[in-house]
């Protein structure tokens, strides 16, 4: 039969990555007790410039980048370990998250030398934070329909349009925006480019969009005849779609897709006590098995990527399974804790955390490619479309 083989060759992270894990863990055990517990629950949604600077001092932001830009020239697998340790220890890693994960690698790959020199060393120092300007009011999953326009004018572009769900725009330094630089709306992939926008530029208004948990992470960013210099174009005019798609595929299967609410599992272990009933132990063990499996899959994909392969379907499968696991976890944990928590005091603390986890859960299967978009990608991989 002719369907592509789904394989996740078991992979060991190399010794240098495991050695780095020990260092990162020691650093986090030292640093994290000073962080407020609610900030730790939000993990990569928590904006803590102070924590990011300390991590930058260790050389653990932009860890794979060339030394000339402040990087450490370590492997993608060492970066994997840093990422999963931040998540496994619920570190407040939100400030530098996007810059390290997406924007920096994009500039490294497509940016001008001037852009790289100006920005990358500041990112690795934990001092320069980024937002993603892709979605618009009328363009979510259908990204190619963006309407924001950057008209060429002498010396640069005049930008008009609105971006939404722009996380952290109210406190970050830059936004990389996907805009139409030529052609007409309806030309789809053609004529799109990405521009590097300093969020302090005049004629940009940033308005909060509060999410259902009452948090201000998102913003609406409106460009009104905003002038952006020519030097801010990333790569070639018209290459925006190519850039965006390679950016989106980047680490779809990373640990952030199943470790975002890891704290709720740790809290569940705490409230169940050291000797839970058989039924409770079995449910707990099954969730742990599920998380372990996701990690094995994610590490296997990392290994394939390190080996020069592009496991796009496998990566999408990890994200699909991982985000659904994250969505199930608060519910399984809540129901189990309600029947099996050891003391009422423990339970009160737990419910606080569980409440937050429940409210955040809908976002997991939406952000960075919905379940439905992912399944479309997998279906294409299976030869169904």
């Amino acid at each position: 039969m002719s369907i592509p083989k789904l394989e996740f060759p078991p992979f060991h992270l190399p010794p240098e990555a495991e050695e780095l894990r020990v260092e990162v863990r020691a650093f986090l055990h030292e640093t994290l007790p000073k962080v407020k517990s609610e900030d730790r629950f939000a993990s990569w949604n928590t904006f803590s410039p102070q924590f990011s600077r300390e991590l930058g001092k260790q050389g653990w932001i932009g860890i794979t980048w060339p030394k000339q830009y402040g990087g450490s020239e370590k492997s993608f697998l060492e970066r994997y370990v840093v990422t999963e340790e931040l998540l496994g220890n619920s570190a407040p890693a939100g400030a530098h998250w996007v810059a390290d994960r997406q924007s920096g690698p994009l500039l490294l790959r497509f940016g001008s030398e001037e852009q790289r020199q100006a920005i990358l060393p500041r990112i690795t120092a934990g001092e320069c934070f980024f937002s993603i300007g892709m979605s618009e009011p009328d363009s979510g999953s259908d990204l190619a329909s963006v309407r924001t326009r950057a008209e060429p004018v002498p010396g640069g572009f005049r930008v008009n349009g609105t971006k939404v769900w722009t996380s952290g725009a109210h406190r970050n330094h830059y936004c990389i925006a996907l805009v139409r630089t030529s052609g007409q709306h309806g030309d789809r992939h053609k004529g799109l480019s990405q521009i590097l926008v300093d969020l302090k530029t005049p004629n940009i208004s940033i308005r909060p969009i509060i999410n259902l948990a009452g948090r201000h992470d998102w913003n609406e960013v409106t460009f009104s005849d905003t002038f952006v210099p020519e030097s801010c174009l990333i790569g070639n005019e018209g290459d925006g779609w190519l850039q965006v798609t390679s950016e989106l595929a980047f680490e779809r299967s990373g640990p952030e897709r199943f470790m975002q609410n890891y704290y709720i599992l740790r809290e569940l272990v705490r409230v169940l006590g050291r000797q839970p009933a058989k039924r409770a132990a079995a449910i707990l063990g099954r969730i742990i098995a599920r998380l372990w499996t996701l990690r094995q899959m994610s590490v296997a994909v990392a290994g394939m990527m390190q080996g020069g392969k592009s496991p796009a379907i496998e990566a999408s499968l990890v994200k699909d399974l991982g985000t659904i696991y994250q969505q199930d976890l608060p519910e399984i944990a809540r129901v189990l804790a309600e029947s099996d928590a050891t003391t009422e005091e423990d339970m009160a603390d737990f419910l606080d955390v569980a409440q937050y986890a429940t409210m955040m859960a809908p976002s997991y299967t939406i952000q960075g490619g919905t379940t439905q978009v992912l399944r479309g990608i997998v279906a294409r991989g299976l030869g169904l479309r």
């Binding site: 740790r266 132990a281 449910i283 063990g285 099954r286 742990i288 499996t293 479309g376 169904l384």
Partner: protein, 351 residues
């Protein structure tokens, strides 16, 4: 065996199973027709002795080689006790014995060896009604002992499973043993290894279910177009692929850990997690595949049930998700919240 040799063996075995282990053979076993020729050829290929050392008449392969072959066998619903015999032969040779030819099965349960008497009763022994011998890990003065008993010397109460394979309850009441020796593998460990074998067979079967469902959706035309072009079907099959992928990935990771960690205790946590996952995903895999294939997949005529019924049986064999989940949950709860992350990243039970 090296990678290339293993790949060649798997290719040969794949062709062999495709040609010689078709639908009629699988259906025949359910009706009580023993495929003697199939078993003979399997033995001639050396598959039941793949992990037995060469000096004990085996092929000298590793546990990983054996598991790779058994995953393949799972993807062909091979209706003979190849998996059971391969593991039984490994247990016998690990205890210093030279495995006999013929079929063996695993009677892993509470069996004691006391004053030269072997006694005990084991439920759900696979292929009990057709196996030539029964291999058990008995307790002898508190220590594990491998014992091999010929079929004529045990009493068997046949209880076929829902997959139609001749399982049964086996009672040992002071039988003569063909072989008995101290075992480097404990009973608990033998059950782990058997669970790992089943997880790999389930990975094979799950993989086959996915390819059957995908191929069917491309051929089945309704409303003037193949049903694979409907988004509802595409999303179902994509979800099916995710469940299959998780089953394969966890089983393969456990196989690697068991192989690298050694026969006596390698990959203990990984095996528990993999069998828990395989057992848990079995239902979703079967449910989606059947839903996507409509009435056709629900017929006896179609081969889909060869795989879905086996998934439903195998998920209970040698510990279901409840059994392995409880083991994991108990250990992790006992170790407390701080031990959780270090244990997960090192694929070990928390301690």
């Amino acid at each position: 065996m090296d990678r290339e040799t293993r790949e060649m063996l798997l290719e040969t075995a794949d062709r062999f199973f495709t040609q010689r282990c078709g639908k009629d053979i699988v259906n025949g076993v359910e009706k009580g027709v023993w495929p003697a020729d199939l078993w003979k050829e399997i033995e001639e290929m050396g598959l039941p002795r793949i992990a037995v050392p060469e000096d004990k008449d085996g092929a000298g392969g590793t546990l990983a080689d054996m598991l790779a072959v058994l995953r393949l066998a799972g993807s062909h619903a091979v209706p003979v006790p190849l998996a059971e015999t391969a593991l039984a032969n490994l247990l016998v040779s690990a205890a210093g014995g030279v495995p006999a030819t013929g079929t063996s099965t695993l009677a892993l349960g509470k069996v004691v060896f006391n004053g030269n008497r072997l006694s005990g009763k084991v439920d759900r022994v696979p292929f009990a009604a057709v196996a030539d011998r029964f291999v058990t890990v008995a307790t002898s003065n508190g220590k594990p002992m491998v014992a091999v008993v010929a079929a004529g010397n045990v009493s068997i109460n046949e209880v076929p499973t829902h997959a139609g394979e001749p399982y049964g309850t086996v009672t040992f009441d002071n039988p003569a043993c063909e072989f008995a020796a101290a075992s480097p593998v404990s009973l608990e460990r033998a059950i782990e290894l058997a669970a790992l074998v089943r997880a790999m067979q389930m990975a094979g079967a799950a993989d086959k279910v996915l390819s059957i469902a995908v191929e069917y959706s491309k051929q089945r035309v309704q409303f003037g177009r193949p049903i694979s072009t409907f988004q509802a079907i595409q999303h179902m099959l994509a979800e099916l692929a995710s469940c299959v992928a998780a089953t394969i990935a966890s089983a393969e990771a456990a196989a690697r850990d068991a192989d690298e960690g050694g026969l006596a205790d390698g990959g203990r946590f990984s095996i528990a997690a993999a069998k828990s996952q395989a057992s848990e995903f079995a239902q979703r895999i079967a449910a989606i595949a059947h839903q996507s294939m409509g009435a056709m997949g629900f017929t006896h005529e179609h081969i889909l049930h060869h795989y879905t019924r086996r998934l439903w049986v195998w998920r209970r064999d040698f510990g279901s998700e409840s059994f392995w989940g409880e083991k994991i949950g108990t250990a992790f709860a006992k170790a407390g919240p701080q031990a959780l992350w270090p244990a997960l990243t090192s694929s070990q039970y928390a301690a």
